[in-house]
């Protein structure tokens, strides 16, 4: 083995190892999202030029159209909102985030590698912090690749999307995915069980989506909507309104709160019993 490869093979921080161990998963999810974005973009011209579809969609009740983010299907932002960012795109990234977030401490506990890791002179807080950072960076990378394909592909299919709005919706998607990764991490750090962390985080993600989008249809859900992180990320429609600093700040605050919760509960527990 030559020197260059050998140096490359050396790992250093827990952060690096966390990313290194998930590199295949990242490449897989990234490729899947790229394919999904490409298919969605490729069908844009067909949908835009087909007046039957527009007429059909126009015949749906307004509340229904609002719920699925269908307003102006033929415009770039309208199409992206309805087809990608109202549910499926963010959902795919959130699934990656929750699976990974639930695995970082509880996975090592369940597999049995945590004992030997924690015998090193590192604090539990540092382990949580470095692994959280790796998840955040990994999820951001995947989201960035997804966004890059949409941003570069849009002009090719004749779709016009303001760059600032596209970046705004990607930042919102990234933040909500990191939030649910952090929720899963906090649950995993407190319980030591991946299944619990995944299940509860997934239920919370779905609930927050429903509370945000169903509120368009169901009047009594309106007062609940401000408690849904999904509303603050995507419900406010960043593809139209652009950056919404207060909403994003709220999400950042939630991420910080759950990260602290994760570190504190991990510090107080008996590990891997």
């Amino acid at each position: 083995m030559d020197d260059r490869r050998r140096r490359f093979a050396e790992l250093h921080s827990i952060f690096e190892r966390e990313l290194h161990e998930h590199r295949r998963a990242l490449i897989g999810w990234g490729a899947g999202l790229v394919a999904y974005a490409a298919v969605m973009l490729a069908s844009f011209t067909a949908v835009r030029d087909n007046h039957e579809i527009s007429k059909l969609l126009g015949s749906y009740p307004k509340a229904f159209r609002d719920m699925f983010g269908i307003t102006d299907y033929a415009s770039g932002p309208g199409y992206l909102r309805a087809e990608i960012f109202s549910l499926v795109g963010p959902l795919l990234i959130i699934i990656l985030a929750v699976l990974w977030g639930s695995d970082v401490t509880a996975g090592e506990e369940e597999r049995g590698t945590l004992d030997i890791l924690m015998a090193n002179p590192v604090s539990r807080r540092r382990v949580v912090a470095e692994k959280w950072a790796a998840v955040a960076v990994g999820v951001t990378l995947v989201t960035a690749v997804f966004g890059l394909v949409i941003g570069l592909g849009a002009p090719v299919v004749g779709m016009r999307v303001p760059t600032a709005d596209l970046v705004a919706v990607l930042v919102a998607t990234d933040l909500i995915a990191i939030l649910f990764a952090t929720v899963a991490l906090a649950l995993a750090a407190a319980s030591g069980r991946r299944a619990i962390a995944r299940g509860v985080a997934a239920v919370l993600a779905v609930a927050s989506y429903l509370a945000s989008s169903l509120a368009e249809l169901v009047g009594w859900l309106r007062p609940v909507r401000p408690f849904s992180p999904w509303y603050h990320a995507l419900g406010i429609d960043p593809l139209t309104v652009g950056f919404a600093p207060w909403h994003l700040a709220l999400l950042v605050g939630l991420v910080a709160a759950f990260a602290v919760l994760a570190a504190v509960s991990f510090e107080r527990r008996d590990l891997a019993v």
């Binding site: 083995m1 050998r6 093979a9 050396e10 790992l11 250093h12 921080s13 827990i14 690096e16 190892r17 290194h20 161990e21 597999r111 049995g112 590698t113 945590l114 004992d115 030997i116 924690m118 015998a119 090193n120 002179p121 590192v122 604090s123 008996d270 590990l271 891997a272 019993v273």
Partner: protein, 329 residues
């Protein structure tokens, strides 16, 4: 494996000085599902090799995981190097090396990646130092760990425990899965390290292993420390289990007069004896008989516990003092 000559050290010849490295006082830890330890009090001095002996499930791993602050005691106090393993966890763990009993490594990494990762976390040993340890244990470092045999994984575990030049080594069943040659290499490494001042806390369910390397041994059973003994003391009290069959019926009187006989059952042509100390007098006695079968074995751990602690101390052991020195090389 290069067999380097090592200075022969009589166990117990070392004197330990300075404050204890490991202190546990009335430490209890109960698990919800049962098990754990109760009122464990132990002290291990600097440079001492302490063998922690007990059957599986007795609480050996629980004790070691408490020392590492992986789990916290319900009651009692623990000090390592005089520090609290919880409050000063990072400082404490910088000075120790650990080999888990149930060793699970990062399967997707190679040994080189794992070792360089841990070396980085320890801000410690250079790759050259690690490589020489790997060479000593004859470890292939560039294959993924999942493709290594159980014994080779154990070697990775040993190298990561030893590589930081720790002041304290916590080894939970370190020789499980190792072939005898590597076991021997490990035992001599441990003796060498102890000579250089490293404290070793080694758990095992194999008496002979503890006998070979330890200065003192603590016996744990069902979560309680049953006894702490010097190994030379333990040896002097160790018994042999002897089964004899002869052509002619046996007269019990022939054996009952022998020194060190702790138990004697005679049925017709066969006899079962427990003898403390030397076997010489018995062999002398047997020389005059027509022996058809003879087996001598060391008692297992459970039998030692029974013979030493479950029974009153009135067992006939009067002659063991003068016998035990002759019995050892």
């Amino acid at each position: 494996m290069r067999a380097r000559p090592r200075p022969a050290v009589a166990a117990g010849a070392r004197r330990t000085v300075g404050p204890p490295v490991v202190e546990m006082e009335k430490v209890s830890k109960r698990y919800r599902g049962g098990g754990g330890i109760e009122d464990v009090t132990l002290e291990v001095g600097p440079g001492e090799v302490f063998g922690f002996l007990g059957p599986n499930g007795a609480g050996k791993t629980t004790t070691i995981r408490l020392l590492l602050d992986l789990i916290r005691p319900d009651r009692g106090t623990i000090r390592l190097f005089g520090l609290d393993p919880r409050r000063d966890g990072v400082a404490v763990r910088r000075r120790l090396g650990y080999l888990p009993g149930d060793l699970v490594l990062y399967d997707r990494l190679s040994a080189r990646e794992l070792l360089s990762h841990f070396a980085h976390l320890r801000k410690g040993p250079s790759w050259e130092a690690i490589a020489s340890l790997c060479e000593r244990f004859d470890l292939e470092v560039d294959r993924p760990i999942r493709s290594l045999s159980k014994g080779n994984r154990q070697k990775v575990g040993l190298v990561q425990a030893l590589m930081g030049m720790p002041e304290l080594l916590l080894l939970d069943e370190p020789t499980s899965g190792l072939d005898p040659i590597v076991q021997h290499e490990l035992h001599s490494s441990l003796r060498q390290l102890a000579l250089e001042g490293t404290t070793v806390f080694l758990s095992s369910h194999v008496l002979s292993e503890v006998e070979q390397v330890a200065d003192r041994v603590g016996m744990i059973r069902a979560g309680r420390v049953a006894a702490v003994e010097r190994v030379d003391e333990l040896r002097s009290r160790s018994v042999h289990l002897v089964d004899v069959r002869t052509a002619a019926p046996i007269d019990p009187a022939a054996f009952s007069a022998l020194p060190g006989v702790a138990r004697l059952d005679v049925v017709d042509h066969s006899a079962h004896l427990e003898i403390a100390g030397s076997l010489g007098p018995l062999i002398g006695e047997l020389a005059g008989m027509e022996v058809t079968e003879l087996s001598v074995r060391e008692p297992d751990l459970e039998e030692i516990f029974l013979s030493f602690y479950a029974r009153p101390r009135a067992a006939p052991t009067g002659s063991r003092r003068e016998e035990h020195d002759r019995g050892r090389p």
